[in-house]
Amino acid sequence: MLLTSIVERREVWSATSYRTGFREAPMSGNPAILISGLTKSFGRVRALDGLDLTVDTGEVHGFLGPNGAGKTTTLRILLGLLRAGSGHAELLGGHPWRDAVELHRRLAYVPGDVVLWPTLSGGEAIDLLGRLRGGLDQRRKKALLELFDLDPTKKGRAYSKGNRQKVALVAALASDVELLLLDEPTAGLDPLMEAAFRECVTEERGNGRTVLLSSHILSEVEALCDRVTIVRDGRAVESGTLEQLRHLTRSSITAELDRIPDGLAELAGVHELAVSGSRVRFEVEADRLGGALRLLTDAGVRSLTCQPPTLEELFLRHYQSAS
């Protein structure tokens, strides 16, 4: 049942709201996070430079970008730990700075680098953070401790990076909140624990919670996220469903042909053409694929492989410096 609801949701996304454009406001309900034109400078360094981000209520939103792109700064502004420079930022209908305390009762945060109190045990830190947030579900805490295979009796210092991260994850996931802000939460986890984490996030979404997931792990983003926003140099460079983003990239085509067609190199949307004998290799933009294929079929196709764009290519293109 859980799975079908996810599939349905996916279909709804791709079928309706995002056909027409990527940065459009969502159609229904208030977004959980609404950021537009957000700036933040540290001295002369401009960390955010007009960032836009919309996270709809109930979605798992991937937040991607190279190191130093401004992801953590954005999260820290949303948490009211930093003051926004200019622009608009709204969180669960409130002001991240002014209404910080009220908002924090409704959200939980897992920082990218978890530091614990050296004299407190992991279990104490989980309970404390949960209570400071307004209470946590002890049964859920026990279940999560088991799921993540975490020993809560060790003192803060004795944990490895991955285990410190688990402490913060358990504290966040055991709280009854509407929104989860997760900053690279699986960076220190082993693959088994990463799978456990995915299970949890899927369940959270099933419960109608909103998740903003900053991550570098593409398979994780692909498996979990309804939509993604890619940031670079403090701006959002792309935002939409993964299907939509795929459309923006090129397919790579390899073909054996009877003859090399004229005009293939000049065809709009064709890139990096390489011809060796009767064999051609090139990349073509998604919406030019038809034209290119027509040209190939006219030239007599003996064999054809067409590779859809991988997410890696998509992200690499965006991660690499501005063209």
């Binding site: 948490l79 730990l81 009796t153």
Partner: protein, 529 residues
Amino acid sequence: MTGTFALVRLALRRDRLLLPVWIMMITGAIAATASAIGELYPGMAQRVALGVTIGSTPALQALTGPVFDATSVGGLTAWRATTLATGLVGLMSIMVVTRHTRAEEETGRAELIGACAVGRHAIPAAAVIVAGGANLLIAFLLTVTLIGQGLPGSGALGFGLAVGGTGWVFTGIAVVAAQVTEHARTANGLAISVLGLAYLLRASGDAAGVETLAWLSPLGWAQRVRAFAGERWWVVGLLALTGLLLVGLAALPARRRDVGAGLLPPRLGPSDAAPSLASALALAWRLQRGGLLGWMIGFAIGGAMFGSLAQSVGDIVNDNPQLAAILERIGGAGALVDTFLAAVMGLLGLAVGGFAVQATLRLQGEEAGIRAEPVLAAAVPRWRWTLSHLVIALGGTPIIITAGGLAAGLAHGVRTGEVGEQVLRLLGAAWVQVPAAWVPAGIAMLLFGLLPRLTALAWAALVAFALLAQLGELLQLDDWIRSLSPFAHLPQVPGGEVSAAPLLWLTAVAIALALVGVAAFQRRDLAGY
């Protein structure tokens, strides 16, 4: 030891402001003391008279040590300045060493360094070289400045080496403490406790005339170098050798233990938090209660020690009818005892100011350690988080000094046979210190809110207050300069008159400073990685 040189350079780069400030402050204070004594007591007769007074006053001997040669300016300078100078170099050495050893391990930076082509002993070795070098420089500067003031060369050298040598011993103590404990805070606390104990041993030994006690303390050795009074160079050798032995001792565990680990294995904790651990204040209490207890124990020991000495001040006067006759005119032996106790309470007040600053700056430690972030990302208003630690700092101050006052009152009362009365008098004298000790905490809070990078200035302010209190009268500084210290406005009790006005406005100043800091923190960005 590979890589030590590079680490020394790193430490010097990180301390390029801190070390020069320490060195200038210590040499400057001593130079000023020497020149003031030269001006105040230019004639031999005046100096001898002062020497007789000191010699017959155990209280003075307890606070500053014995005078070995009252006939010369150098001898009096050594008497007045040795305790102050050795205490300061001790503190400096401890802080420098901990900062570059255990603090580095605790933050994980030592791991980054240890993974490079750096020997196992390079990190402590670099810290020892930097602290030892600073002490050597202080010894050199003291020698040169004192010679520059016309004092004899060998005495100046003896004094410089006594001070620098004591700093070297505490370099060794700090590097051992850094090996034993897991946390920088504990390492600092342990080494500073040793410094405090050394002071108490020396003070009681000197006051009660028990040489053995004073010889147990490195601070006592520094005095027994007898600078300007027939220098005993072998005592300098004793200081140098002890420091060397301690450094060698620290190298033993360093060879065996894991990076980041202490000598004691880590213990397990409860799997669930107690129901009471549910607020920012509960967390602050949990983090600070151990430190608070340590301070209370220290104050109780110190108070008891000084309290038990107080009566002997009077005894010696009573044994000497001539002196008693002189003193009768200024209030008699009882007044002398009270003066001594008032001076002790002044010292306790300054010391508890150290707790108040330390407890307030825990905020800074939590923020810089990224442990404030998860708390403030939960439903905790900023003011509640800042106030949680401030409450511990301001509330702990009277609790700690009560321990000191109570112990002093009990010890003194047992000797005079009027326990109830003395406990009440000395408790009152202790509580009077509280408003002044709050002021440096207010300064720390203000800096934390407005200029979090400069919170170390709160410590500088406290040291400045201590110098003004200890040397202000001697240096005949203008009243307005001395009045910059909150401690200058306190009534001299027991013995003096208490008026509520200064206590009230000092409290108001402290609270106002703190509130500005709290308000400023409401508005500023939280430090990140």
